[in-house]
């Protein structure tokens, strides 16, 4: 930094002595400018000068200082400072020393958290860690945090760089229209409005709460809250207005636009919009949830398993009474959680699983209830000796069960819950089925009853294909 600044001082000095004592150069929007001090500025389309906070910021946009034009100190002083230049999008990644997150830079200084090393490698190559600049904490405020990059398709460094052709376009700077009215009566300033929602990503059936907070020195006449132009609530003569809105189970679009409109006593008004993105969660039989036992004794635990089929799994979450309890992010199709309900006899908890796929779609299982009872249900397992068979083949299905009270009987049922075989006592119960003629997927249930008549069921699926 020091070397380069002295370099500028030197060239600038040479330039001035050798070339001219005439008026300084004419400058136009997009020029790099300096005066007698070494600092170089970007002359924006809005007539303001923009500061390069660090040398590295400059070098993300320019290879050298060749095109810097020199103007007089008085001219420079007459140009107000518009702000700081941010890194050219895509060129380098940045971080701050006191935060482990690494960010890619998007348009106009939007920072996008790179969430994994794999993504960093995919975007910036195997030497990605040589392409990170530490920026001082003090300049972090020049940037805005955007959405994290969780998938390589969400950011392409080269495209981001080429889209930002210059600092004017990156910052969206335009020539401001001439001020035609300098001395006339200013219209009253509108008041302020702060509109928020407790949950911008609700699911169908959720109720969301909007809060609109409006202020103006003379007072607020009315605040209205609307969702997709439908009135949710109207509040008169108050600065804070809240309204509840239940998200419909079926909507035309997953995006709702909520708007708050405030009318002030001084006859000005102010409106603010929020986009509500309804999380589309598909209820699907492809996500199954089951418990090792659905009746547990007080203090007893049971394994809960969520299985996803035909979904490219990114994450599986298990919810107990609506609260997330376990999250599996290994990409495995199965997620397990050990549940110990904390209520007394007669209480129950409701569980469901949510699977997020690799592109962010979510799928939900049916609800499963686990009840706390005096007697726990038997622990049942059902197994087929083969889960994939060809037409013409046969297979054995075996049910076993255990329980402290002893097993009264075991049963094997078909997918219509017709009993195929009934076995008294605790010995394993096996049923031979086949030969199979029709292809398809068939579910078998194993059921067991303990000595106190508590029953439980588990299932297994057999797929029949043509050879």
């Amino acid at each position: 930094m020091k070397i380069i600044t002295s370099f500028i001082v030197l060239t600038a000095a040479l330039f001035i002595t050798s070339h001219t004592v005439n008026a300084a150069e004419t400058i136009s929007s997009g020029d790099l400018i300096k005066a007698s001090t070494p600092a170089v500025y970007y002359y924006g389309a809005d007539g303001k000068r923009y500061v390069f906070p660090t040398e590295k910021t400059f070098l993300s946009w320019y290879d050298n200082f060749d095109s810097v034009k020199t103007i007089t100190d008085a001219e420079l002083a007459s140009l107000p400072i518009g702000g700081n230049v941010t890194y050219r999008p895509g060129v380098r990644m940045i971080k701050i020393t006191t935060d482990p997150k690494t960010y890619a830079v998007g348009t106009n200084g939007i920072l996008r958290h790179i969430t994994s090393e794999e993504i960093a490698v995919a975007l910036y190559g195997s030497d990605w860690n040589t392409k990170i600049d530490d920026i001082p904490d003090t300049f972090f405020v020049n940037y805005n945090i955007g959405d994290p990059i969780t998938n390589v398709s969400q950011f392409t460094p080269a495209d981001a760089t080429s889209a930002a052709t210059n600092i004017n376009s990156d910052k969206g700077l335009t020539t401001s229209p001439p001020d035609t009215c300098t001395d006339c009566d200013e219209p009253p300033e509108p008041g302020t409005m702060n509109f928020s929602v407790n949950d911008p990503n609700p699911r169908p059936g959720d109720t969301i709460t909007f809060t609109a907070n409006a202020n103006e020195s003379e007072g607020v006449q009315m605040i209205k809250i609307l969702v997709d132009e439908n009135l949710v609530t109207t509040c008169n003569n108050t600065t804070i207005c809240t309204g509840n809105y239940p998200i419909p189970l079926i909507t035309d679009s997953n995006t709702l636009t909520a708007r708050a409109e405030a009318t002030f006593i001084n006859q000005t008004s102010k409106a603010q919009e929020i986009q509500i993105q309804v999380e589309e969660t598909t209820l699907t039989s492809g996500v199954k949830i089951y418990a090792d036992r659905t009746n547990v004794k007080v203090g007893q635990s049971t394994g809960i398993t969520v299985d996803a089929q035909d979904i490219i799994v990114k994450r599986i979450e298990i919810f107990v009474d609506g609260a997330g309890k376990a999250v599996c992010e290994s990409g495995s199709r199965t997620c397990k959680y050990s549940l110990t309900p904390d209520g007394g006899i007669g209480t129950f908890v409701t569980l469901h699983g949510i699977v997020t796929d690799s592109i962010g779609r979510t799928y939900r299982s049916e609800n499963l209830t686990v009840t706390v009872t005096e007697n726990d249900s038997p622990l049942v397992t059902i197994q087929a000796d083969k889960n994939y068979v060809y037409t013409g083949e046969s297979l054995n299905v075996t049910v076993t069960a255990s329980d402290q009270d002893g097993i009264q009987y075991l049963e094997i049922l078909d997918q219509n819950r017709q009993i195929l075989k009934h076995c008294d006592g605790a010995a394993p119960c096996t049923y031979n089925i086949g030969p199979w003629n029709e292809t398809g997927a068939y579910t078998f249930y194993g059921r067991a009853a303990d000595a106190m008549d508590a029953t439980d069921e588990q299932s297994t699926v057999v797929t029949v294909t043509n050879p």
Partner: protein, 261 residues
């Protein structure tokens, strides 16, 4: 120039740390506390919005504080969980500033608003005979942290001592009120940051997930939905008491809010 200032600032902070009691696991700090990381020298102001504010240079720091006493040291991971909210501006009224490339001298009003002082006479009326020793050069890159206000027309408009006394803290200067507080949700290593705070009755506490994994906040009588990265949940505490809360995903992540009158 700027680097030199920051370097000097850092070294002072380092010296300060030598005299401070080490309380690395101190996770109890309220809005308005000065914090620093264990191995970093920079000192931050922890505000009501749960964010840390950067002192751009030593001069800014010393308009608010006389020394480096009462700084809470947190471990580096914990510091990383707290997002940066912005930069601290000069204490209003305390000093005048200018930038090197513009001769205009500005007084600083509440909220980091710059007000041009039009003449030497006016500067002398406001800041006495030695007014020209009370002007700091503001690096260009920090100019953007300030807002431009109207010029000061008459001395009656701006009384430096009154302006200075009208704000007692950085929070007040930034417009935060004591009816808000915020907690960042980190990972299982850091937990909630801070994990314990004391607030007044009527305060709204906002929890924001700063971790890439989902978390929740559950306490007696309140429960958040699943919070993904950067999602928030808030609750207003209208009753005196001690409110424990935890993350249903990771029940080892616990915190406490003491609500007092």
């Amino acid at each position: 120039m700027m680097q030199r200032i920051i370097a000097a600032f850092s070294s002072i902070a380092m010296i300060a740390s030598l005299f401070m009691p080490m309380s690395a696991k101190a996770l109890t700090f309220n809005p308005g506390t000065l914090i620093k990381g264990q191995s970093y020298s920079a000192v931050y102001y922890f505000a009501e919005d749960g964010k840390r504010y950067v002192f751009p240079n030593e001069k800014t720091y010393f308009t608010w504080y006389e020394n480096f006493d009462n700084i809470v040291i947190v471990d580096d991971r914990t510091l990383g969980v707290i997002p940066i909210g912005g930069n601290v501006t000069y204490r209003p009224g305390k000093k005048m500033v200018k930038i090197t490339t513009d001769p205009t001298v500005y007084a600083i009003d509440v909220g980091g608003v710059l007000r041009a002082i039009g003449s030497e006479e006016l500067a002398q009326t406001l800041y006495n005979i030695n007014w020209n020793q009370q002007i700091d050069d503001l690096p260009d890159a920090f100019f953007i942290n300030y807002k431009m206000g109207s010029p000061i027309a008459t001395a009656a408009e701006f009384k430096p001592a009154d302006v200075m006394n009208s704000v007692s803290s950085i929070s007040e200067n930034k417009g935060f009120t004591s009816t808000e507080a915020a907690i960042s949700i980190g990972d299982t290593m850091t937990g909630f940051v801070p994990s314990s705070i004391t607030v007044k009755v009527g305060t709204t506490v906002t929890w924001t997930n700063q971790d890439s994994k989902p978390h929740t906040v559950k306490g007696d009588g309140f429960q958040s939905p699943n919070l993904e990265y950067r999602e928030s949940f808030n609750r207003t505490f209208n009753q005196v008491g001690s409110y424990q809360f935890y993350d249903t995903y990771n029940e080892s992540m616990v915190g406490n809010i003491s609500v007092i009158n």
